[in-house]
Amino acid sequence: MLAFIIRRILQSIVVMLMVALLSFTLFRYVGDPVVSMVGRDTTFEERAALRETLGLNDPIVVQFGRFVKNASMGDFGISYEQRRPVIDLIAERAPATLELSFVSGLFALVVGVFMGVYSGLHKDGFLSKLFQSVSLVGISLPPFLIGILLIYLFAVILGWLPSMGRGEVRQLGFWSTGFLSFSGLISLILPAITLGLFQMTLIMRLVRSEMLEVMRTDYIKFARARGLTNRAVNFGHALKNTLVPVITVTGLQLGQIIAYSIITETVFQWPGMGYLFLQAVQRVDLPVMGAYLVLVALIFVVINLIVDFLYYVVDPRLRMEGGAVS
């Protein structure tokens, strides 16, 4: 067990290093950060001096080594654009992204499971067909288009919901939350739907097919024969058994939601980490870009690590063979 954990953690570190190296190689092609840092009247001598101070003239290997060394100590440098420690910027923006991801995930799970169960039980019903069509939209339309359509419908035409921003935000220590004000809550609705629609669709389809499968099994028939209520059969026995794959998928998708909130945050001017990253790319703010990519890689690696451990716990065969999951 211990050997397995150590091996997994070492592999994760290699993955993190690869991500960092890849992002560093890509940074070379983004452009010159100095252009966005100074005004147009700044002389070439001053620009060159700035480049030297930032260490941009060093070979890429040296820059990479410096980044890894500092990052391993939790120091991601100072943002070129905002001139504050990157770690502070990310900490400031993280609550917005995490709250949005949490609500999106919850939305995807609750609505997805509900729609999945319903269309699994009444596979020929009108609503089931409607759900299927909706899910097709969720799978096929890109999030920015969904976001813009929702904004036009609910903000411009109907005027019910805000089109952008987080609404009123309250501070709880270091955490800024939108959960405690009405405007904060209604501001969450559109972006959460936009971000969670794909995952909702995925969960719905998964639950639906699992339900169809389970409903055919013998123990459901026996349960009905025992005279159990529909509620007990459908939710107590059938749904429970469909949830194992759903939980796995949801866990993995949570990483996706956090990482891919970039587009949703941009459309809704949501002040989270994804928006911070996009701004950084446009301004060639290398320290922010590096920190964000490493952070996202970390989220994925940690989630995968946990999933691997859970498999190990759940599946006795892995223990017998001594560990490795291929």
Partner: protein, 538 residues
């Protein structure tokens, strides 16, 4: 069925929530003004970044010795009057009884401190005060500004140089500007302010939200009725438009060209348009002996004025105006627009669009079959910049010049052309001083990298090094000429020579486009900045 019952319960609940939301969405009556631009101000410290947005935004909080009136003319601000006591000495009488937002008095020491700060490490405002040799304090309310030689343009140069409080800056560790050499982190002044202006900063979250409230002790009579001003940068065009049309914001800019008609047709909104001070133009590499990006070997066709003129006359500017800019541009023959001091209507006649003449000129210059060339263009800087370049490439190909595009983001484009690594490039220029000299000094005067002892910043953006000694001489003369009539004669002569040389191909001035709700009245500035002091909320 249980599931069906649960579902209908959800339907009812969501309908109830919807009704609640309608009730809440009704705005309360207040004089709050909310507006959005496509990007945020770089800093609240007005010396950190010399760009129009940052300086226009902080102008609501800080003030200079002089300021712009509604018609862009110079009027007194922190200085009440000034006179030339010698050709290079300006005496300024400072306004008495002005206080900073924290209540302390404004004095001559603040002006001297601000000059030192603007000249110091990390400041991006050096070019604005470069003409000042020294500032002497006469008494608390009088100063002498000594310029490096006669400097008639002083007022235009310094109107964006705002005065900052000496004591406050020193006490808050902001005596020098956030620079990279002097400790890399921001100073206190990056997110906090203490100005003399009509508005005070209440809260600042960079890239998210900035809130300002009126300064109750402002020295001037108020011309606005705002009780609170909230600024949100909104990057995505569609979202910016949506938040205007949904009534959440009172004003947004810019309105993308394709959305102008929509905003205009929506009742309750209007689009304010006007000529922006920025001119977009094309430049040539005129110093290399061999074309860098192209198929001509051993010589540089762009050195031949006939070739440059052929390229000029191959461009159908009306088509660009109608098809690409949808009318939202002002074709120009000069590097400045009619809203810039020094403009001369008599010279503003373009060489006509004439492909046959282009071909004739090319043949005469020895290129009957044309040649190939690469046009460097940004794709995220000017309105439809990439589309314009594509059109130019297509038009050039019709006269035999095979023009391919190298289209890049601003971060890559500007560092490439600034290092003169280009044969043919697009650039735009907005003279922040509203004077012709700024544009021609930066783009037309011989590039400082190519000569001995240049003036600081000379020809910094003359990326292809157009160089004509006569033009250089006239530009130097006009900086020292105090008589406006003689000065205009120098300007017109200089612009005529540059035009005959086809030193650049001017394309157009962009149109400003602001989306404004009927709830507010405001004044548009030609440099695309918003002054809150002219905003009336109904």
């Amino acid at each position: 069925m249980v599931a069906r019952k649960a579902f209908s319960r959800i339907l009812v609940t969501s309908a109830a929530i919807a009704v609640m939301l309608i009730a809440v969405a009704m705005p309360a009556q207040s004089k709050t003004f909310k507006w959005a631009f496509q990007s945020d101000a770089g800093s609240m410290d007005p010396y950190t970044m010399n760009n129009t947005m940052t300086l226009g935004f902080t102008a609501n909080i800080y003030e200079g010795l002089v300021r712009h009136a509604k018609d862009e003319s110079i009027e007194p601000s922190l200085a009440t009057s000034w006179e030339l006591t010698q050709p290079d000495v300006w005496r300024f009488n400072l306004r008495k009884g002005v206080t900073w937002h924290d209540g302390s008095p404004f004095t001559a020491d603040d002006v001297i401190f601000s000059w030192q700060r603007a000249m110091g490490e990390g400041s991006d405002m050096k070019s604005f005060v470069a003409g000042i040799k020294d500032i002497k304090k006469i008494d608390d309310n009088t100063i002498d500004i000594i310029t490096k030689g006669p400097w008639p343009l002083l007022l235009g140069d310094i109107f964006r140089w705002y005065i900052m409080p000496k004591k406050w800056c020193e006490e808050n560790n902001s005596a020098s500007v956030t620079g990279f050499k002097s400790g890399t982190e921001e100073t206190y002044a990056t997110r906090h302010t203490n100005g003399t202006g009509p508005f005070m900063l209440q809260s600042r979250e960079p890239q998210v939200k900035t809130v300002m409230v009126p300064n109750p002790n402002w020295w001037d009579k108020r011309t606005d009725n705002i009780t609170e001003a909230i600024f949100t940068p909104i990057k995505a065009d569609a979202t910016r438009i949506a938040s205007l049309l949904s009534g959440e914001l009172d004003m947004i800019y810019p309105v993308p060209i394709q959305d102008v008609q929509r905003v205009r047709k929506t009742p309750g909104f209007k689009v304010m348009e006007g000529m922006e001070v920025r001119t977009v133009f094309l430049g040539f590499d005129m110093w290399r002996d061999e074309l860098l990006y192209g198929d001509v070997k051993d010589k540089n066709p762009l050195k031949d004025v006939r070739v440059r003129k052929a390229m000029y006359q191959a461009i159908d500017i009306d088509a660009i105006n109608k098809k690409i800019m949808r009318g939202a541009s002002y074709p120009t023959a000069l590097m400045i627009g009619s809203n810039i001091n020094g403009f001369d209507e008599a010279l503003n006649k373009r060489f006509p669009y004439d492909p046959a003449e282009s071909k004739r000129l090319l043949a005469e210059a020895g290129y009957p079959n044309g040649f190939s060339i690469v046009l460097d263009t940004p794709n995220d800087r000017y309105v439809n910049d990439e589309a314009i370049s594509q059109a130019v490439a297509a038009m050039l190909s019709k006269v035999g010049i095979k023009c391919t595009l190298n289209s890049q983001t601003r971060a890559k484009h500007f560092s490439k052309i600034a290092s003169m690594d280009t044969s043919f490039y697009m650039l735009g220029w907005a003279p922040m001083s509203f004077d012709v000299h700024n544009t021609y000094f930066n783009n037309v005067q011989t590039n400082g990298q190519k000569i001995e002892n240049p003036q600081p910043g000379q020809g910094n953006w003359n990326c292809g090094n157009y160089s004509n000694p006569e033009v250089d001489k006239l530009l130097n003369e006009m900086t020292a000429e105090i008589d406006p009539v003689k000065r205009q004669a120098l300007i017109s002569k200089m612009m005529q020579i540059h035009k005959d040389d086809v030193g650049h191909i001017p394309l157009h001035q962009q149109a400003l486009s602001w989306g404004v709700s009927d709830r507010v009245d405001l004044t548009q500035s030609a440099d695309n900045t918003l002054s809150l002091r002219w905003v009336m909320v109904k």
